[in-house]
């Protein structure tokens, strides 16, 4: 009982010194809980939405996906004849049925041809206004669309783009462009997850999206009273005889939930991973706090031991304090987590996805997990300091407990650290040297973990050398103040090491990812320069196919030397070894594609693959199936007949673009696939005559002005787009790593603040003999900068090592060029110095404010 009492008293007596540790626990727990609450809320929202929007039973075309429409090759949604509706209506247990048409392979623009699609990546849906959709939407102004010239838009999209009744809207589908005026605006009565939705009347929808009337993409069936969805489904399926997909409301909702759920899961685990890193960094902070508290309390503990406390009791009293800290931090963290979740929902709101806080879902497991995690991590982190406290001898009570100068960091530590780092280095080397990606990534993981632990263990030993080196460069100019800062940073290498290590972890990941990212850009750029012969690439960033009208527009652009169309077809292949592989794709292009992309071959000439009834396969496929130049492969086109093609070329697998592609000419495909089932182009390549590039580029852009869904890029644009894309991804990861770095910076603040308390007498002495406030503050700031730079140096070094290893490993997948982004690395290094200054702000201010006399008088 007394143990608990002393722990409580100590805890409350030193609550200020624990504050930053509590914040570290709070942040990590908050991030975990915030992630869980947010993803749970998203799930609830979508669950509600899908349940609300699905009809009792839905009938759709056989090749539609479970979640709705499939992007078929010709850019039109898969449909069924109108006769199906009649059949369904005549089925037992059906109260009513309604045929609908909708498509997501559309682009919608306003009168100025500005794209109205959501920027969040949510779909654009154009469909027929129907009874089922009317259940979850309310027309807030105007009327439902009626006739060819009318369209209704959802209220969120209308708000966002300031659309009003009577405004003109263009719906661009594979069929063509259809213009209509806004007749009405409908608001969602359930949460709109951010989709832009447009309604036409049924006939207009059929013509605009499919190009013909008398077809539906779906038949929504409502059950008669007393008929279960499952029974209705059986009846309808029996009536239609298996030619169509029949799903109950629950099945549709589940399928939708599954597809969105897997995305949410990826997001959830990624965010939890970053929360884990923050926890790891927080551990260092907690260890440091308790180590320092124990050191400061050495005399007190000695006294407790002298008057009869057992080691266990002392040990336990420290752990109980940790427990209190863990509980306190975690409880606040759970609360803050809900706040973070609401913040994320607001953020999604600003990106167009309106999540309602009414759906806020806090599962009972969330606070429990947060609490358990926070408490367990805190107590585990305090274990080592607690053990050290238990080892304090009763003699400590009698000795003068001035700030201990702990200069010896132990030979055992050195040996262990070096062994671990060495093993890590070997594993990384093995990863770099491995020529099988799978083994290599195992080695890489092992190497990363071992070298990280090794650096953490050996950190305090490195602190000496690194801080001295940094001191020689940075601190010399500050004279005696700099020297004292250096000595202070060195006086307890274990503390400096642990503080720096916390920062090291976050920065190592930043460095590693920046190396991999810039190597990716550099490798891709090199590949582009080496292999791409085309000047311009036309594609849709939202994944839409290129309509024949747009292709014609490209082809009629003046100044172009050649235009290459490029399609992807689903096939199944039967190879000479007798095996059949389904779900393969072949890439059909014009023969000029061999000039647009100079893919290396290991056998044969790629241009020959575009000859009639010829094709190429890739190296790995050829090896696996024993294919040589001249081998015959049976190709069954999903939308056409079966062909027997001769392999004329085998392409190298050492490629980045179109790796693993099998080429065939469009002319060959046309002999086996009827023209109305021929898929649309995925990409169109164009090249200008010499010296006409610039003019052609302008001409091409204006030719495609009416097709805002497509983007034309020249090689420079393309490289930039690639770079931006990788840059965005990296920025997102850096953003998430910021949490770990913030915790690490709190660690620096913590160490400094506690050091200042510990050195109260020293500071008083220095002030008494004439150190000015300004000099004192500078001294503390410099110490902070040195610690931060120490962490940065270690982290950047380690991270660059990891990055370089990852690049060597990924060289197998085409990441051929190692590029160290020096500007980023240097910016991070310099930035850490500023972070150090920032971290010292409060401790330095408080040290400066210390009363000289009190400082001297402090026991």
């Amino acid at each position: 009982m007394t143990v608990l009492k002393t722990s409580m008293r100590n805890f409350f007596a030193h609550k200020g010194r624990m504050a930053l540790s509590a914040v570290a626990v709070l942040l990590s727990v908050a991030f975990v809980c915030g992630t869980l609450v947010f993803t749970d809320t998203m799930n609830t929202t979508f669950d509600k939405l899908f349940t609300a929007t699905a009809s009792d039973v839905t009938v759709s075309a056989k090749d539609a996906s479970d979640t709705g429409e499939t992007r078929s090759g010709n850019g039109r949604p898969p449909t069924m004849p109108a006769s199906v509706l009649g059949e369904v209506r005549g089925t037992d247990g059906v109260k009513s049925a309604e045929g609908t048409v909708f498509s997501t392979s559309v682009t919608v623009v306003d009168a100025e041809k500005r794209n109205l699609s959501p920027k969040s990546g949510a779909p654009t849906i154009v469909g027929s206004w129907n009874v089922n959709d009317a259940r979850t939407k309310k027309i807030t102004s105007g009327t439902a669309p009626h006739g060819f010239g009318q369209v209704m838009v959802d209220a969120d999209t209308a708000d966002q783009h300031h659309l009003r009744l009577g405004d003109e809207i263009g719906v661009i589908s594979a069929v063509g462009t259809h213009t209509a005026k806004i007749s009405g605006i409908a608001a969602f009565t359930v949460t709109n997850p951010g989709a832009a939705v447009f309604y036409l009347d049924t006939r207009t929808a059929q013509q605009t999206l499919v190009g013909k009337t008398g077809v539906y993409t779906n038949v929504n069936v409502t059950a008669a009273s007393g008929v279960s969805d499952a029974r209705l489904k059986r009846n309808v399926a029996a009536r239609l005889g298996g030619a169509y997909k029949v799903q109950t409301a629950k099945e549709v909702a589940d399928a939708n939930q599954k597809s969105i759920g897997s995305f949410l899961n990826v997001m959830k685990y990624a965010m939890l991973g970053f929360a884990g890193i923050a926890f790891l960094v927080g551990i260092f902070l907690i260890i440091n706090t308790f180590s320092m508290l124990v050191a400061q309390r050495t005399r007190e503990i000695g006294l407790m031991r002298a008057i009869g406390s057992s080691r266990r009791q002392v040990n336990r009293s420290v752990l109980v304090e940790a427990l209190l800290l863990g509980v306190f931090g975690s409880v606040l963290g759970v609360g803050a987590g809900v706040g973070i979740a609401i913040g994320l929902m607001k953020l999604m709101g600003s990106m167009g996805m309106n999540l309602s806080t009414d759906d806020l879902t806090v599962a009972w497991t969330t606070p429990v997990l947060g609490l358990v995690l926070g408490v367990v991590v805190t107590v585990l982190a305090a274990y080592l300091p607690a053990r050290r406290a238990g080892k304090v001898s009763p003699m400590a009570a009698l000795r003068d407990a001035g700030a201990p100068v702990d200069a010896k960091a132990g030979r055992l530590r050195a040996a262990l650290g070096l062994v671990l780092t060495g093993a890590g280095g070997c594993a990384l080397y093995a990863a770099a040297a491995d020529d099988r990606a799978k083994d290599g990534s195992l080695w890489l993981g092992l190497g990363v973990v071992l070298s990280l632990i090794g650096f953490v263990v050996v950190g305090p030993l490195l602190a000496g050398g690194v801080v001295r080196a940094l001191g020689a460069v940075v601190l010399r100019i500050f004279g005696p103040v700099g020297r004292m800062a250096e000595r202070n940073a060195l006086r307890n290498p274990r503390r400096t090491g642990a503080t720096g290590a916390a920062l090291m972890i976050g920065l190592a990941l930043v460095a590693c990812l920046s190396v991999v990212g810039s190597s990716m850009v550099a490798s891709a750029t090199e590949q582009l320069d080496k292999t791409v012969g085309t000047d311009f690439i036309v594609q849709s960033d939202s994944g839409q196919l290129i309509t024949p009208q747009a292709v014609r527009a490209v082809k009629s652009t003046p100044g172009l030397k050649r235009v290459t169309e490029y399609k992807v077809l689903d096939v199944s292949l039967t190879t000479p070894d007798g095996r059949t592989t389904t779900k393969e794709t072949v890439n059909a292009a014009d023969p000029t594609y061999a000039q647009d992309l100079r893919t290396k071959t290991v056998a044969g000439n790629l241009a020959d693959a575009y000859r009639p009834d010829s094709m190429s396969v890739f190296e790995g496929f050829a090896k696996k199936h024993g294919i040589r130049v001249g081998s015959k492969v049976t190709v069954a086109f999903r939308d056409g007949r079966t062909a027997r093609l001769t392999v004329r070329a085998i392409t190298s697998d050492d490629a980045v673009i179109d790796k693993g592609a099998m080429y065939v000419s469009i002319a060959t495909v046309a002999r086996y696939v009827p023209s109305d089932r021929m898929p649309l182009d995925v990409l169109v390549f164009a090249s200008a005559g010499d010296g006409q590039q610039r003019a052609a580029y302008t001409a091409l852009k204006s030719a495609l002005h009416d097709y805002p869904q497509y983007t034309v890029r020249d090689q420079t644009d393309y490289k930039k787009a690639l770079k931006d894309q990788i840059g965005r991804l990296l920025n997102m990861i850096y953003g998430l790593l910021a949490l770990a770095i913030i915790v690490a910076v709190l660690g620096v603040v913590n160490t400094l603040a506690l050091s200042v308390v510990e050195r109260t007498r020293e500071i008083g002495l220095m002030r008494a003999i004439g150190l000015s406030r300004r000099q004192l503050r500078r001294m503390i700031r410099l110490e902070s900068v040195v610690i931060a730079l120490f962490g940065a140096l270690l982290g950047l070094g380690l991270g660059m090592g990891w990055g370089a290893t990852a690049q060597k490993l990924l060289a197998l997948q085409g990441l051929n060029v190692l590029q160290i982004p020096w500007s980023t690395i240097i910016a991070v290094f310099v930035g850490s110095a500023f972070v150090g200054l920032l971290a010292a702000l409060v401790p330095a201010f408080r040290a400066g404010r210390m009363n000289v006399l009190n400082a001297i008088a402090t026991e």
């Binding site: 003068d400 001035g402 700030a403 100068v405 004279g479 005696p480 103040v481 020297r483 004292m484 000595r487 202070n488 060195l490 006086r491 007498r761 020293e762 002495l765 220095m766 002030r767 008494a768 003999i769 004439g770 150190l771 000015s772 406030r773 000099q775 000289v852 006399l853 001297i856």
Partner: protein, 262 residues
């Protein structure tokens, strides 16, 4: 170790008075109203230049407070403190810090040295902070005087208590301050080490012409001084010139007895 050293003159303003520091009607009070405690009650005192002055008194007499006020470590409630001709009461922290750095030396009872600096670095610290170069010859003499020549590279942790205090004395002397304040400088030392340190202080007055003010409650320590001031209840109640330990002890006993009967 007697030598024919001339008394060094302080560089600077030329003609100096015989008084290094003075307090005029100094009052130091804590709290207000009912809880008001007066630590110094209208104290007037002159500290003679080139002399070793001891301030004695029972616990709570205000002797440490007087020293802290004279040294510019503490502020006074009313009255004036002058260091040479400079009035230090009312100076801002920046000026006070400079004053302490350039014109005053300190020796505390314990924890006098920075553990991260070696002996020599500790000795030159005030000058380093000020950005001044120490006077080599003077420094050597000080170091030699306090007998630390072989231990300059040692860290405080590697020195005995007596050696640490000698380093502190050397630090106080090295910057050639106008006045050195000692707050029980031998309080933590055994009698032999204490005698050693006091001997150095005495010598620095005799041989180097240093002005020293020392707070102590040890009659033996006080007997090294030229003059002893007695404080009781915040007032100077007596003084004694060229004291011996026995005289000091007797006087203390008197005060004690009076304190008890009153």
């Amino acid at each position: 170790m007697t030598s024919a050293v001339t008394i060094p003159r302080h560089g600077g303003t030329g003609g100096r008075t015989a008084v290094a520091a003075r307090a005029r009607q100094v009052v130091k009070a804590y709290g207000a109203g009912e809880t008001r405690v007066v630590a110094l009650d209208h104290v007037d005192v002159d500290i003679a230049r080139g002399q070793f002055t001891a301030i004695m008194g029972p616990s709570g007499s205000g002797k440490s407070t007087l020293m802290h006020c004279l040294a510019g470590l503490d502020t006074v409630t009313s009255g004036q403190i002058l260091l040479d001709e400079t009035e230090i009461t009312g100076l801002k922290d920046k000026k006070l810090t400079q004053l302490r750095r350039d014109r005053i030396g300190f020796i505390f009872q314990a924890f006098n040295l920075l553990p991260t600096l070696n002996a020599l670095e500790n000795i030159t610290l005030p000058m380093d902070i000020a950005g001044r170069k120490p006077d080599r010859a003077w420094l050597e003499r000080v170091v030699e005087t306090v007998g630390l020549a072989g231990r300059l590279k040692h860290r405080p942790a590697q020195l005995s208590g007596g050696q640490q205090q000698r380093v502190a004395v050397a630090r106080a002397l090295a910057a050639r301050p106008e006045i050195i304040f000692g707050d029980e400088p031998t309080g933590n030392l055994d009698s032999r080490a204490g005698a050693e340190v006091l001997g150095f202080l005495r010598r620095s007055v005799d041989e180097l012409g240093q002005t020293i003010v020392m707070v102590t409650h040890d009659p033996v320590a006080a007997s090294y001084a030229d003059r002893v001031l007695y404080l009781a209840d915040g007032r100077i109640v007596d003084e004694m010139h060229q004291p011996t330990a026995d005289q000091v002890l007797d006087r203390m006993k008197d005060f004690d007895a009076r304190g008890r009967t009153s």
